[in-house]
């Protein structure tokens, strides 16, 4: 049952529209109910070959030798593709937006870093023949110690998962092994809080489990081009990733997709397209590479695990005065997108509440497991779980109703958020009020009267004095260095650490009238556009 509450925020909307707001039937519904919606795999191509990969049986091992003698002689085998056959066998997805270092091969060459990592691709006349050839491949491994826990991975002496990041953590801003958020003086506020609550939260990985598994069909087309039917969630992302890995101009490819059997974030990584195209290039035939269900579940990227520590200071009257968070994203063996999730997570702190002192350190950590990627609620789902469980505990601690506790601490229009932007267009309070009403959950009159549009701003708009970390001295030293993933022009240099801000900030945030995105006063690891 869905009810539209048109009475709320009515003054901010023009509801006099013709097509918008109507429950019009989906454009694709007729296709869906007749089975004529065309997914990547619904293309029947003459002479199609089948690609399967040999996956590592080890979580962490050096590859001593790969013996394909028997596999090459196996019936129906057209081509065995090794890492050395991949033109650019090292990539990181976000290199397209100049973020992070190339750290992942399409096919492992000298080392495997997670169980299930692809080592060889076999192209054969049938799936059965590809499976038979796989069974004949002999890989000689030298097992290495593996690390599976994010905090163990950060300890000195932990096995190095991914040599591109020898400390097992993604490097932010050339300097830190984590993304920081600093707003006010959390430690001082914790020291003077009536109650302090510190808790640990954990989310195991989660699989996207779309009913259609990842896959692609690539086929030689006219005029030297390749047509690629794909399940990708990001068409040009996949085009450009393939162009980079295969070292050809992007207009070599004609990608066709757009009708996908569920994604939820699990079809961004462009895992099948490069090998399918390479198979087509090497054999001159159409090649299909589609994940089996077990492959999708175990070796397709999951939503990565997260471990979160929250330490909150709360006053007897229910006001939260400090929130300090350490969060660890388990990226698995390679970066994929977890590095970006950690920044998004830092931006999300401390949740939709106005807390005057916030401190966050968010780590992207490498372990010997299947690389993680984006999923519905990327970078936020686990943090929301942690924050909202913590909110329930805090309400309990101070003896408040949890709904009223949320409303008391909710952010409102005009408040300063911890990432130092003004809160606008907020509606948390109204959501709490309406949910309480629907659930017949009694809240007191003063909380029913609260509004996102009232009582924000003023002193709540201030950026509080924020002390520098002691670690900042250590961190400042290499700040002038640039690493290869920072592809900004060399003239852009890091500004030296600023002095602590003045003790009495202005009531309103210093903010230009227009959008301040892309402000140039910070140096950044984020480039502007693709290479």
């Amino acid at each position: 049952m869905l009810e539209l509450r048109k009475d709320i925020f009515a003054d901010e909307r023009d509801d006099n529209l013709k097509e918008i707001g109507k429950g019009t039937q989906r454009q694709d519904m007729l296709g869906h109910v007749t089975g004529t919606s065309s997914y990547f795999n619904d293309h029947k191509l003459q002479g199609m070959l089948h690609l399967k990969v040999v996956r590592s049986t080890q979580a962490h091992a050096r590859i001593r030798r790969i013996d394909t003698t028997d596999a090459e002689r196996s019936a129906g085998v057209r081509r065995i593709i090794r890492g050395t056959d991949v033109p650019v066998n090292l990539n990181t997805l976000l290199s397209l937006i100049n973020f992070g270092k190339d750290d992942e091969p399409s096919l492992a060459v000298d080392k495997v870093r997670y169980k299930g990592e692809p080592i060889l691709a076999i192209v054969a006349d049938s799936e059965r023949e590809a499976f038979e050839a796989i069974a004949k491949v002999k890989v000689d491994y030298e097992p290495l110690p593996a690390v599976f826990d994010v905090e163990d991975a950060l300890k000195p002496g932990a096995p190095v998962v991914n040599e591109t990041y020898p400390k097992n953590a993604f490097v932010y801003h050339d300097v830190y092994d984590h993304q920081r958020l600093r707003f006010g003086d959390a430690d001082a506020a914790l020291a003077s809080a009536d109650h302090v609550l510190e808790q640990r939260y954990q989310m195991s990985p989660i699989e996207h489990a779309p009913t259609e598994t990842n896959g692609a069909i690539a086929a030689p087309d006219t005029n030297g081009r390749y047509v690629v039917y794909t399940s990708t969630q990001a068409l040009f992302f996949s085009v450009d990733t393939c162009a980079k890995i295969l070292d050809v101009p992007s207009n070599t490819f004609h990608f066709i997709g757009g009708t996908v059997g569920g994604g939820f974030g699990g079809k961004v990584d462009t895992l099948t397209e490069p090998l399918a195209i390479l198979g087509a290039m090497l054999t001159g035939r159409p090649v299909r590479y589609v994940f089996g269900r077990e492959e999708e579940m175990q070796y397709g990227p999951p939503r990565g695990a997260e471990r979160i520590y929250i330490k909150d200071g709360v006053m007897r009257d229910g006001r939260i005065v400090a929130r300090k968070i350490h969060a660890y994203f388990d990226s698995g063996a390679y970066t994929r997108l977890s590095s970006y999730a950690a920044v998004k997570c830092a931006a999300h702190l401390p949740g939709p509440y106005t807390i005057p002192n916030v401190y966050g350190d968010v780590y992207c950590v490498f372990t010997n497991r299947t690389p993680a990627t984006a999923m519905r609620g990327f970078g936020v789902t686990a943090m929301d779980f942690a924050i909202e469980c913590q909110m329930d505990k805090l309400a309990n601690l101070v003896g408040m109703d949890p709904m009223e506790f949320r409303i008391l601490n909710a952010y409102r229009d005009g408040d300063m958020k911890a990432h130092r932007r003004e809160a606008k267009n907020t509606a948390l309070i109204e959501c709490v009020q309406v949910a309480a009403e629907k659930a017949k959950w009694p809240i007191r009159e003063e909380f029913k009267r609260a509004s996102s549009r009232k009582d924000g701003g003023g002193s709540r708009a201030a950026i509080p004095p924020t002390p520098t970390d002691s670690s900042r001295t250590r961190a400042a030293a290499p700040a002038q260095q640039r690493t290869s993933y920072d592809r900004l022009p060399p003239t852009v240099t890091r500004e030296p650490p600023r002095d602590p801000p003045p003790p009495a900030p202005p009531p309103a945030p210093p903010r230009p009238a227009g959008p301040s995105h892309g402000a140039t006063r910070f140096s950044s690891v984020f480039g502007t556009r693709r290479r």
Binding site: L2, A234, H254, E388
Partner: protein, 340 residues
């Protein structure tokens, strides 16, 4: 008495679009000679309704019926660049690009109509049913079909438009984390009621009540699809799912849909939803994006409801019967909290 009921709640917000921006999407809109419009995109429809919602945005902006618009996606030879379908960016980013393209096409269409009707284009309006007429004088009218024919064959005009939407990339301060992560946020609050078996640790969903604020429900049926399905996924994440049941020990990973746990059709519960609309200043018709955030409040609401039912806090996801049972045993039995 071994089964205990409890209620819990959670409230959340969610950023719309790729974090920090810098994620453009483009759209092309053009009319065929009989006034039927095609939207060319490279954006992906994963089931969320990309084709359908951009179709409505285009029709509204052009001022034509939705039946006169067809969305074609995703072909890299014909569809212009889009960053992709993720980060709740479809409605907001692609919707804005389609709006911009449709606005440009509408401009040409109105000019062509003005030339046919021998009036000033500024005096014309669309009726949303396929006609353009002089404001206040509905009888001085021309169909969009006739305008398209005239534009194509008589005036030599192309009724088409290009659109791009880009939230400029924000930097991030390494020391403070100062940044502009998103331009707008969706909001939600959800109440979950559960029943916990204190001898087996099993948790059953009883009902959910929720309020979601998402800027504008461009199509309430599509919104309902996202919110109902998303809340189901939230329950699934809360109580069932993981490919690593013994994380961080990487053993006994599920290999099929029997071992990978997701609630079945017999595990679902009634879910009463309210939708609030506080338009985002930069959203297409104020819209934000419901697709991702809808699952998020369910996880903590369920955890908090379990506490209310039996007095144990499970801070590890997923909240399996085993974790609940261990916690109940550790505290010496269920301790139901005050009924809510």
């Amino acid at each position: 008495m071994t089964r205990h009921r409890g209620r819990g709640m959670a409230s959340i917000n969610y950023p719309i679009g790729m974090n920090l921006g810098g994620d453009p999407s483009q759209a092309l809109v053009h009319s065929n000679p009989s006034g039927k419009f095609t939207v060319a995109l490279s954006s992906i429809d994963l089931g969320q309704g990309m084709k359908s919602v951009t179709r409505q945005i285009c029709a509204e902006t052009l001022g034509v019926p939705v039946e006169d618009v067809y969305v074609d996606t995703a072909d890299s030879d014909t569809g212009p660049h889009c960053m992709g379908s993720f980060a709740s960016r479809g409605t907001h980013r692609v919707g804005n690009a389609v709006m911009a393209a449709a606005r440009e096409a509408r401009g040409v269409m109105m000019e062509a109509a003005a030339e046919e009707l021998e009036v000033n284009a500024a005096d014309l309006e669309t009726d949303g049913r396929g006609n353009i007429h002089v404001r206040g004088a509905p009888h001085r009218s021309i169909s969009t079909k006739d305008v398209a024919i005239a534009a194509q064959f008589k005036q030599g005009k192309t009724i088409s438009g290009r659109g791009i939407f880009l939230v400029p990339l924000s930097n991030v301060d390494p020391e403070t984390g100062e940044m502009s992560p998103a331009t707008c946020y969706a909001h939600a609050c959800l109440v979950a009621e559960v029943e916990v078996d204190d001898e087996t640790g099993e948790v059953a969903m009883v009902r959910m009540d929720s309020a979601y604020e998402l800027g504008r429900a461009l199509n309430p049926r599509l919104v309902e699809q996202q919110l109902v399905g998303g809340a189901w996924m939230g329950v699934s994440h809360a109580l069932y799912e993981t490919p690593e049941p013994y994380y961080p020990d990487p053993v006994h990973g599920p290999r099929d849909f029997v071992e990978y746990l997701m609630p079945g059709p017999g595990d679902i519960c009634p879910h009463d939803i309210a939708v609030l609309e506080r338009p985002a200043p930069d959203g297409p018709f104020g819209a934000k994006g419901p697709g991702e955030m809808c699952a998020n409040p369910v996880l903590p609401a369920v955890a908090n409801a379990i506490f209310n039912a039996v007095g144990v806090r499970i801070d590890d996801l997923p909240i399996t019967p085993e974790k609940v049972l261990r916690a109940i045993k550790a505290q010496g039995g269920a301790r139901p909290q005050a009924r809510r």
